[in-house]
């Protein structure tokens, strides 16, 4: 009797899908899925060298090598010790320093890993009060920015090379002139030292104009908070106290928008097993899918321009029920604007908010129009959230001018010398200011920047800036804690920091050390802390050691809604034009354009669209159909292939559309985005930079020309025209599809309470016979057995782990063309699934890395034993054995193995196809960015996630070193985290020893929410996923569709066979199967 277990067949209409083409069952798509490795890696291009020529050349070079045998000799290499020992430095050991990254939300506290004086990795600082030890993708990629070989290296004056001495002379002439007509344009920094120097400078230079500009700043939020609660009020949400959260146009779960630590309380309350506190419920109203929208229990698609009207309707309902006069006044002041949204949704949402007084939160985004934000403040006040879930603090940031004020001053001719410190206004200033043209009116523009960019070209002086890892500084985190910025390395190319320039203008000499920061620190140090510690020196040392100064949070403020000013601001709601709107998004890869030269980030797929190397206009399926935008240009592959001169894989070819506001128009590629609001367009900022560096050339589309200063979030009343042009996009969403086999699982809280283990018998897993394996297990003899869990309930898909892995494991970048051929190298990827209708689906994210299967399918097919198992349960990859057959990747059900088709580390991405004799090598500065503990892989070898074996071995070795000549099992292994786990801001990834029943990972793996993928192939993976649990409001319209990605509970689809899954008839050889024979995913039993 033979048992044949078939893969479950693909459903004709999949309930979970990754792309529209999958949903629509395109036959071309099915063909594409079948090919693990798409077309040809064996063609050299641009070198005129065929394979035959290559073999001839190789033969000749082998012969030559044979003559002298010189090629076999190792070259002489050197050991170069220090001349003088450096304090704390032990060659070959990492040193860790606390520092922080200045971001617009405040400071992002970090621990920098330095190796022989080079910073090589950044981690979150878990000691810092705002940080849970997590980071975001931008912080992880900062290392590459530091070592970027394209960074500017030379001071220039009028485009010609200059030097520090002449710049110093210039600064001296400015300060001696009494500072007449001096202006500053800076980025938001939250730096007390900068504020102090600015105040001193304002004393010396009366009439100084100090303007701050952040394209993605929170000036709207600040204006709303000032009007509602008084100038300088900062609101800090306490998610751990909130049962119901409503996000209006707010992506608060994305740390790149809200700041690290801002939403850390949210994931704690997302746990369905938590004692004492019920699982929270999240409502989201937004126009495009964000990571927050993906986490929502109920999500409402709504045009961004109509969210104000929605908030007004919500406020009206709440004001009527609570009788809150303040809210009624603010709502009454907000103009009645026509809008189309689901009123039943708003009604039920209001009812849920009202049912939980003082335990709710209504949040808005940083660029949401101030009038809408004021509405949210008033609603929070009426719901009794102030002081309960929303804490008000009094910040002390001095008032600054805006870029519009500065533009007025320049037009009036009062600015003679303009210092542009950071930023890039020539590229990203609001369109109506015409800032690039204004710069020509200023006699002397001094530009401090990391790159020679658009603004540098229009400036008299360009000064290379020091990276934050190269300079002293300080910053306040979003709740005020003073945080240190310490240099990890001397400026690689002699850059100056903002503080250096300000200090020079104040007549200070060159400042190499922390003097400026220390002077501020001494003023801010709390007296009781000083008394406790003893001396200022000791306090300063502890500040640098832990990276922050405790007790320096902003003082609490009395939060009382100022009805008059709030209503006045609400009355100034922007007028909305009819028709299409264009919403400006923060890019998940380049932020506002500042990371446009960072290839790690450019190649990281967008959270939702999974587009790499480009941005694109997002349109809803209905609007796309109405406007004539095609989801893909299938027929045009050949044509495009000719145009871009490369063989094009089955990947996205998008229509180019022209968007116009009547005066200005831009062209951009458009893609159809499931779950997008109708009559709305979204485009990420920061792309379409021109002539800055080779990497930035032809990357994406610039949205800034349509952006105004008055409503930074969107432009309403735009028109769209489809052109006949096309544009190839590199979209990874269809790469490595696992063909929808209940890989990602979810259910509702009610279902979970009824049957906590419901996910373990989903789909095929209810039918599998007992596991038997023909292969013998490798002996798993180690005391430690490594395993991992990923909690789908808290994983938002924010990409922090993806970039962290890239930084830790020297994962190369392959470029857009290679990504289009499915050759991206990321060891950990985020699979994004949609579930349900294409107009309004649910979204789920799932992080996939090597599962380290105990019965690993890759190991059995390797002809050279290059991938084998270790006794502690790791699936190892010995690069020096690999001969590149790629059998292992073909046999991997998870598709996590990556092949080096080219020497990605040794060749720039535009020269990959050059022949074997072409120049090879890596820029010196990029060599410094590599993790010295991880092999840099070469062409022709397979690679994949190693569970950070370098960290595992480090921990094991330190235990043995500590044990010395004693029994090693008596010394506990030191705790460590793997790179993805350490970066995760939501603590979704847990790694550890599953053999220790007390370990967190072992307990989580035994959780009833836990399931493993492809259980029926019996690979025994070491990674367990924890099912996503949704908490829908039963009264909400569409509540029956929430948490149903995997379909209705299993029993009902099988005619109410309740005992299903535990039924004894499964796994026996009895042919009498109780369920309908037509079920597509049941084991066939044949005699």
């Amino acid at each position: 009797m033979k048992r044949i277990v078939n893969h479950p067949a693909r459903d004709a209409q999949p309930s979970i899908w990754r792309s529209l083409r999958e949903l629509e069952n395109d036959p071309e798509f099915a063909k594409h899925l079948a090919a693990e490795f798409p077309r040809g890696a064996d063609v050299y291009q641009d070198s005129g060298l065929s394979k035959r020529d290559f073999l001839k050349l190789m033969g000749a070079s082998m012969a030559l090598a044979g003559v002298g045998l010189t090629g076999c000799r190792r070259p002489e290499s050197h050991l170069v010790p220090f001349t003088k020992g450096v304090e704390w430095t032990v060659p070959g050991k990492f040193l860790y320093y606390a520092t922080s990254m200045p971001v617009r939300q405040g400071a992002l506290p970090l621990i920098a890993t330095t190796s022989d004086g080079r910073p090589t990795k950044l981690e979150g600082n878990p000691l810092h009060p705002v940080s849970s030890g997590g980071t975001d993708a931008f912080a992880q990629a900062a290392i590459l920015d530091l070592y970027d070989p394209h960074r500017s290296r030379n001071m220039t004056e009028n485009g010609k090379g200059s030097d520090l001495a002449s710049f110093d002379a210039f600064l001296q002439s400015v300060s001696q002139s009494g500072g007449k007509g001096v202006g500053f344009l800076v980025e938001k920094a939250n730096s007390p030292t900068r504020d102090r120097l600015r105040a001193e400078l304002e004393k010396n230079f009366p009439g100084l104009v100090w303007a701050e500009y952040e394209p993605l700043g929170d000036s709207e939020a600040a204006a709303a908070a000032d009007a509602a609660f008084g100038v300088g009020t900062k609101l800090i949400p306490k998610f751990e106290r909130a049962d119901v959260v409503l996000a209006l146009d707010s992506d608060f779960l994305n740390p790149a928008e809200s700041g690290i630590g801002y939403a850390s309380g949210f994931s704690a309350r997302r746990n369905p097993d938590q004692m004492g506190a019920p699982m929270n419920r999240l409502y989201v109203v937004e126009n495009h899918f964000t990571v927050t929208g993906g986490m929502a229990d109920h999500r409402l698609r709504c045009k961004t321009s109509e969210i104000g009207a929605l908030a007004r309707a919500l406020g009206t309902l709440i004001a009527a029920k609570t009788g809150d006069g303040g809210l009624a006044a603010v709502v009454g002041a907000y103009p009645d604007q026509p809008a189309h949204f689901d009123e039943a949704w708003v009604k039920e949402c209001a009812a849920d908010l009202l049912a939980n007084p003082g335990r709710t939160l209504v949040l808005t985004g940083p660029q949401t129009p101030a009038a809408v934000q004021v509405l949210a403040h008033a609603i929070n006040s009426a719901l009794g959230n102030l002081g309960a879930t929303l804490i008000a603090l009094q910040s002390a940031a001095p008032a600054t001018a805006t870029i519009s004020d500065l533009a007025k001053a320049i037009t009036a001719g009062t600015i003679q010398t303009l210092f542009i410190l950071g930023g890039n206004p020539a590229y990203n200033a609001p369109a109506e200011l015409g800032f690039a043209a204004l710069l020509a009116k200023v006699p002397a523009v001094v530009r401090l920047g990391l790159f020679e960019d658009e603004t540098s070209k229009l400036s008299r002086w360009h000064i290379p800036a020091a990276h934050f890892l190269e300079s002293w500084g300080d910053a306040r985190s979003f709740e005020g804690t003073l945080t240190a910025i310490q240099p990890m390395i001397l400026p690689l190319w002699g850059g100056l920091s903002e503080l250096d320039i300000l200090s020079k203008l104040l007549g200070g000499g060159p400042v190499d050390g922390p003097e400026l920061v220390r002077a501020t620190f001494e003023k801010l140090a709390p007296q009781d802390l000083l008394a406790e510690v003893g001396t200022m020196d000791l306090l300063w040392n502890s500040f640098l050691r832990v990276g922050f100064l405790p007790e320096t949070q902003f003082p609490p403020a009395a939060a009382q809604l100022a009805v008059a000013t709030a209503a006045a601001l609400a009355a100034k709601a922007p007028a909305i034009k009819d028709g299409l709107e264009l919403v400006f998004l923060q890019s998940s890869s380049v932020d506002d354009g500042r990371y446009a030269n960072n290839s790690w980030l450019l190649e990281t797929p967008d959270f939702v669209t999974k587009v790499t190397w480009d941005n694109a206009v997002l349109v809803s399926p209905a609007t796309a159909a109405a406007l004539g935008i095609k989801a893909n240009n299938f027929g045009k592959f050949e044509e495009i292939a000719e145009k871009i001169g490369n063989d094009v894989n089955y990947d996205l070819v998008a229509d180019i559309v022209e968007i116009s506001d009547g005066k200005t128009s831009i062209q951009a590629a458009a893609i159809v985005a499931p779950g997008h609001a109708d009559d709305s367009l979204s485009l990420a900022l920061g792309y379409g930079r021109k002539s800055v560096s080779a990497l930035m050339e032809n990357v994406g589309f610039d949205a800034y020309p349509l952006r105004s200063a008055t409503i930074p979030r969107f432009t309403s009343g735009v028109t769209l025209k489809v052109t006949d042009k096309n544009y190839p996009l590199a979209q990874t969403q269809e790469h490595r599809s696992m063909e929808g086999r209940d890989l990602v699982r979810e259910g509702t809280l009610d279902r979970y309470k009824e049957d906590p283990a419901f996910a373990q018998t989903m789909g095929m897993d209810g039918h599998i016979p007992p596991n038997i394996s023909l292969y013998t297990h490798p002996a798993l003899t180690s005391k430690e057995q490594w395993g991992m869990t990923v909690d789908l309930n808290t994983c938002t898909g924010c990409n922090a782990c993806v970039v962290a892995c890239q930084a830790e494991n020297n994962v190369p970048v392959v470029g857009k063309d290679q990504v289009r051929k499915n050759r991206d190298m990321a060891w950990i990827r985020i699979d994004r699934y949609f579930a349900g209708e294409k107009e309004d689906p649910e979204m789920l994210a799932q992080a996939i890395m090597c599962q380290h299967c105990e019965n690993a399918p890759c190991e059995t097919v390797c002809p050279v034993n290059a991938t084998v198992h270790s006794e502690d349960g790791l699936n190892l990859m010995a690069y020096n054995r690999c001969i590149g057959t790629r059998y292992c990747a073909n046999n991997c059900p998870w598709k996590v193995r990556r092949f080096n088709y080219f020497d990605y580390n040794q060749r720039p991405i535009d020269q990959l196809y050059w022949g074997p004799l072409a120049k090879k090598g890596m820029a010196d500065s990029l060599k410094m960015a590599k993790n010295p503990n991880v092999t840099v892989r070469m062409r022709g070898v397979m690679e994949k996630c190693t569970f950070c074996i370098q960290r595992i071995e480090e921990a094991k070795i330190s235990r043995l070193v500590e044990a010395g000549p004693t029994p090693s099992s008596e010394t506990p292994i030191s705790t460590f985290k793997v790179a993805c786990q350490q970066a995760c801001p939501n603590d979704s990834i847990v790694f550890g020893d599953i053999a220790d029943p007390e370990s967190r990972v072992a307990r989580l793996q035994k959780s009833e929410r836990g399931y493993t993928m492809f259980k029926y192939v019996n690979a025994s993976p070491r990674v367990t996923y924890l099912t996503r649990i949704k908490n829908p409001n039963p009264n909400m319209p569409g509540a029956d569709r929430v948490g149903m990605a995997n379909g209705a509970p299993h029993g009902s689809s099988h005619g109410g066979d309740k005992s299903h899954g535990s039924d004894k008839s499964h796994g026996t050889h009895e042919p009498a199967a109780p369920h309908a024979p037509a079920a597509p995913h049941q084991p066939t039993e044949a005699h």
Partner: protein, 217 residues
């Protein structure tokens, strides 16, 4: 009678002989080169920028290995001493010796001394000194009698099979912890290395990795 063999077969024997002899010579040459210690560079003894003699410093002066290789017990890399370490003594002793000119120059200019590397593990191999010396493996086992070397040479092949010889049977090399840096230590008369090694191996739970991941990451 027709010819059994076509004409080209006249030369086949000669061609075969030539071909086989070339292949044979290649084989001999290959084995000669690759299978001898020369390939693993046993005996590699480059000229160093300063004529430092381990024999003098260790044997005659009785210095411990760890005076100069100070981080061997804590780090993966066993460091070469900084110029400062040399000058700690040599500002007083033989302060004008011409042999020390390179070192004095380095001290004066701040430019490091470029010592020539002798032992080199490939880039994909991660060897850790600390774990070996703390768990009973002496310097001697891998580096030979450095204490007797006027000029240091490579004493052991340090190939992968050589590593595995010990990783599979560490009892042949384990020493009492106090004798790790004693380059002249031998098991006492009547004491068997193997028995003593077995004792240490069991007592300390020495279980060296033999899977790829132990050294290759």
């Amino acid at each position: 009678m027709a010819n059994f063999f076509p004409k080209w077969s006249n030369w086949i024997a000669l061609k075969l002989v030539i071909c086989l002899s070339v292949v044979g010579m290649g084989l001999v040459g290959g084995i000669w080169y690759y299978f001898t210690p020369k390939y693993t560079r046993v005996g590699y003894m480059p000229t160093q920028p300063a004529p430092f003699s381990h024999a003098l410093h260790v044997e005659q002066l009785g210095m411990d290995c760890r005076y100069c290789h100070s981080f061997v017990e804590v780090a993966s890399h066993s460091n070469v001493p900084s110029t400062q370490t040399c000058m700690a003594c040599h500002t007083q002793i033989r302060a004008t010796s011409p042999k020390l000119e390179t070192v004095r120059q380095s001290w004066k200019t701040g430019e490091p001394v470029n010592w020539v590397r002798i032992h080199k593990a490939p880039d994909y191999t991660y060897f850790n000194h600390a774990v070996h010396v703390n768990r009973g493996v002496s310097c001697y086992s891998c580096h030979g009698a450095v204490n007797e070397m006027q000029v240091v040479w490579q004493d052991q092949p340090q190939s992968m099979s050589w590593c595995l010889d010990c990783h599979r049977a560490p009892e042949n090399f384990l020493r009492p912890p106090a004798e790790i840096y004693n380059m002249k230590w031998k098991p006492a008369a009547g004491e068997s290395q193997r028995e003593m090694g077995m004792k240490f191996k069991e007592e300390w739970e020495v279980n060296p990795p033999v899977t790829c991941g132990g050294c290759h990451r």
